[in-house]
């Protein structure tokens, strides 16, 4: 194993999914659990993954254009993204999985579950994006956070203490990597920043579903998660409380163990 580049860095494995070279990390045994990450924190194996891998065979791929996964020119919308993950399951020889998605990954998971309901054994959406919040709910412009404001929005008033965790060493290389990832993110989410189609398609989901929300979210309004819980049949809505400080959008960093245990409730 090569020397760590930054906190929790771990080398990836690679697989071809529908012709797209896809990076992933995998650990654990038992029921297959596919975790779809949010718009950042790639190339890591962090405590939340460690905790979740105790509950099953955890597969954590990097989305096309994120981390070390390739981004084909032809991938331009969420249907393409859902097809990519169907290709990945096929490449991994998996019929169906417990699907978990956080934030942007939550949106992708919801699209996948609505298009391929037969391929999921359970669905967990954590602070998910993807639906249109009501007009009175303020929505942050995710593409315009100044660095220090971004951390506070993601992790609350004491977000700055996490700054070293996000430091990847070479500032120039990190700026290039960040730009590549936010470009891949923006390709699907710049306009519109929600899907109206999902509102009518979510009814197709039949697997046990839970929506896990933080106590406060300065990035993705909790009303979006609440709306998911209304639209997905029999979905359970859970607010995960923090042990010492209130949970925020990046609850996977704040409360890795409790979040993993909550996910395990449907595995």
């Amino acid at each position: 194993m090569s020397e760590a580049k930054f906190a929790d860095y771990r080398e990836a494995s690679f697989i071809e999914a529908g012709g797209v070279r896809t990076a992933y990390r995998r650990q654990g045994s038992g029921e297959p659990v596919l975790f779809l990450h949010g718009a950042g924190l790639t190339r890591r194996w962090f405590p939340f993954y460690e905790a979740l891998s105790k509950h099953g065979d955890l597969i954590a791929p990097e989305h096309p254009g994120f981390g070390e996964s390739d981004l084909p020119d032809s991938l331009t919308d969420f249907t393409d993204m859902a097809v990519h993950y169907a290709d990945l399951l096929k490449a991994l020889d998996l019929e169906a999985v417990h699907l978990v998605g956080h934030s942007y990954g939550g949106w992708i998971a919801a699209e996948f579950a609505a298009l391929y309901p037969e391929k999921i054994k359970s669905l967990t959406l954590i602070a998910p994006m993807g639906l249109r919040p009501p007009p009175e709910v303020k929505m942050a412009d995710m593409f315009r956070f100044a660095p220090q404001d971004g951390l506070r929005a993601l992790l609350g008033a004491d977000g700055d203490k996490w700054l070293p965790y996000f430091d990847e060493g070479d500032a120039g290389a990190q700026a290039i990597q960040d730009y590549q990832e936010v470009s891949a993110f923006g390709r699907l989410t710049w306009n519109p920043r929600y899907s109206l189609k999902l509102e009518t398609r979510l009814r197709r989901i039949t697997a046990p579903t839970q929506i896990i929300l933080p106590e406060h979210d300065g990035v993705v309004p909790v009303e979006i998660g609440q709306r998911y819980a209304e639209l997905i049949p029999n979905a359970k809505l859970v607010t995960l409380k923090g042990a010492s400080t209130p949970t925020e959008h990046l609850l996977s960093l704040q409360e890795p163990q409790r979040l993993a245990d909550q996910i395990a409730a449907v595995i």
Binding site: F143, R144, F145, A146, P147, Q148, D149, A171, G172, A173, A175, I176, Y179, Q180, V182, S183, A184, F185, G186, R187, W190, N191
Partner: protein, 452 residues
């Protein structure tokens, strides 16, 4: 492909060392908040506080009046720009229309409309064609990709910006050269009936202003656009223009002449070097610190630039390069952003810059956006009388002075053109048959015609 016999603008002879001067105004007025760390004035400065209507009217009036004065001063071209928040100048085409109406013979360059804010490129082609017809062929058009903040405002995906733009440039070029209707089947636009009305007098000279992205240089070279090298220190301008020439030669098999390369600099002229500096220094610092400053996520929205360009910007230690907003007055002048001094000093600077770049066109920024009117007019008058003639043949006439306008200016000229309508205009009268409507109001001429 059949081409129209439309005249293609060929401004200025190549053979001599003549320079063409365009007049560009900053036009802002310096009433914005001083920009601090991680902030910009370009995207979300609240209009409730910073777009007071009377102040906007004063800004726009001053901006347009100083440009109109450019005709009397003898510039070869006056330029309308397009800027959004915090500026009021959000349509280069609307302002070009005003400038064309308020001037007589000078060329007007709209540099330019941000094509990606239009529903489709053909809509922009229509506006260009109409202004050409209205003005006797006096319009030139710059096609900027649009700075990052425009994409924050307009909803167009920055990821698609360059693809849409490239397809748009190709479609506009085609609409001006190929008879319609034709069918356009693109990646971004599918227009089954492209049929440009009106057909223009002249195919305008198209400019491509670009700060140096590889994509833009390639596009300008491929489509024979006038490359306008902007927003960089001299060193980068030189390498960008070299790359442009090299791309044109190696990939497209032609050598761009001097009149296919333009550049731009702030110019301030006064009686002596010391006097010029005294007048311009505060305004240059204001510009550097407030309008050159922005934050990365606003100027490079996601996907706006390709990864190869982004690696050039941030790779190899460039990440820590000194940002332009920290430039001192001396650095601004040394790096060729501005020429400030006596007529001799400014003329020397211009000669050096245009020689190094092989540029035949120079856009003079006559005001960086904060100078008082008297200072702008004093400098521009000195520039026109003491600098410009040095770069022109004897008599110092601008290029448009000896070029006839297209179309007509008087009723008698219009009649002398004797344009024959392609068809006799007819209406069918019951019992009479097809009648020529031009003479239908005279009984004895209300007789049936054969054609129609």
């Amino acid at each position: 492909m059949t081409h129209f016999s439309t005249e293609i603008q060929q401004p200025g002879p190549e053979s001599d060392r003549r320079l063409e001067f365009g007049l560009f105004m900053g036009g802002q007025n310096g009433f914005y908040p001083h920009v601090g760390e991680n902030r910009t004035n370009y995207v979300d400065l609240p209009n409730g506080e910073f777009s007071e209507p009377s102040l906007s009217a004063i800004k726009v009036e001053k901006y347009l009046r100083n440009l109109i004065e450019g005709e009397r001063l003898g510039f070869d071209m006056i330029i309308s720009m397009e800027q959004r928040c915090p500026a009021p100048y959000n349509s280069a085409m609307i302002m070009a229309s005003w400038l064309l109406a308020k001037t007589n013979k000078i060329q007007v360059g709209a540099i330019g409309p941000v094509m990606n804010t239009y529903l489709n490129p053909l809509r922009l082609a229509e506006e260009i064609a109409l202004l050409d017809i209205m003005s006797g062929g006096r319009l030139s058009v710059g096609l900027p990709l649009g700075i990052g903040p425009a994409y924050h405002h307009m909803g167009v995906k920055p990821n698609e910006a360059r693809g849409r733009f490239k397809e748009g440039v190709e479609l506009i070029k085609r609409a001006f050269s190929e008879p319609g209707p034709f069918d356009h089947r693109g990646d971004y636009f599918n227009l089954p009936v492209c049929n440009l009305y009106p057909r223009p007098h002249r195919t305008p000279e198209f400019w491509l202003p670009a700060s140096g992205s590889l994509e833009s240089i390639e596009l300008a070279a491929e489509h024979h656009l006038t490359y306008l090298a902007i927003m960089n220190p001299m060193k980068a301008l030189i390498s960008n223009t070299q790359r442009f020439r090299q791309t044109a030669e190696e990939k497209y098999g032609y050598t761009p002449g001097r009149n296919q390369v333009g550049c731009m600099a702030l110019v301030h002229v006064a009686e002596t070097d010391a006097q010029a500096r005294k007048e311009a220094e505060a305004h240059i610092l204001w510009y550097n610190q407030n309008l050159m400053r922005s934050v990365m996520h606003d100027f490079l929205p996601p996907g706006y630039s390709g990864m190869e360009t982004v690696k050039r910007i941030f790779g190899g230690g460039n990440y820590r390069a000194k940002p332009p907003e920290q430039m001192s007055f001396d650095e601004t002048v040394e790096q060729g952003w501005a020429f400030v001094g006596s007529p001799d000093t400014v003329a020397r600077g211009i000669e050096e810059m245009t020689d190094k770049l092989g540029a035949g066109k120079l856009l003079i920024m006559g005001d960086n956006g904060s100078m008082p009117d008297w200072m702008i007019q004093k400098s521009l008058t000195m520039f026109a009388s003491e600098v410009m003639p040095r770069f022109r043949p004897a008599r110092g006439r601008p290029v448009w002075a000896d070029r006839p306008k297209a179309g007509f200016e008087t009723v008698s000229e219009a009649s002398a053109l004797a344009v024959k309508p392609p068809r006799t205009p007819i209406a069918v009268f019951e019992g009479l048959g097809k009648i020529d409507i031009r003479t239908a109001h005279i009984d004895e001429l209300r007789t049936p015609v054969k054609e129609g």
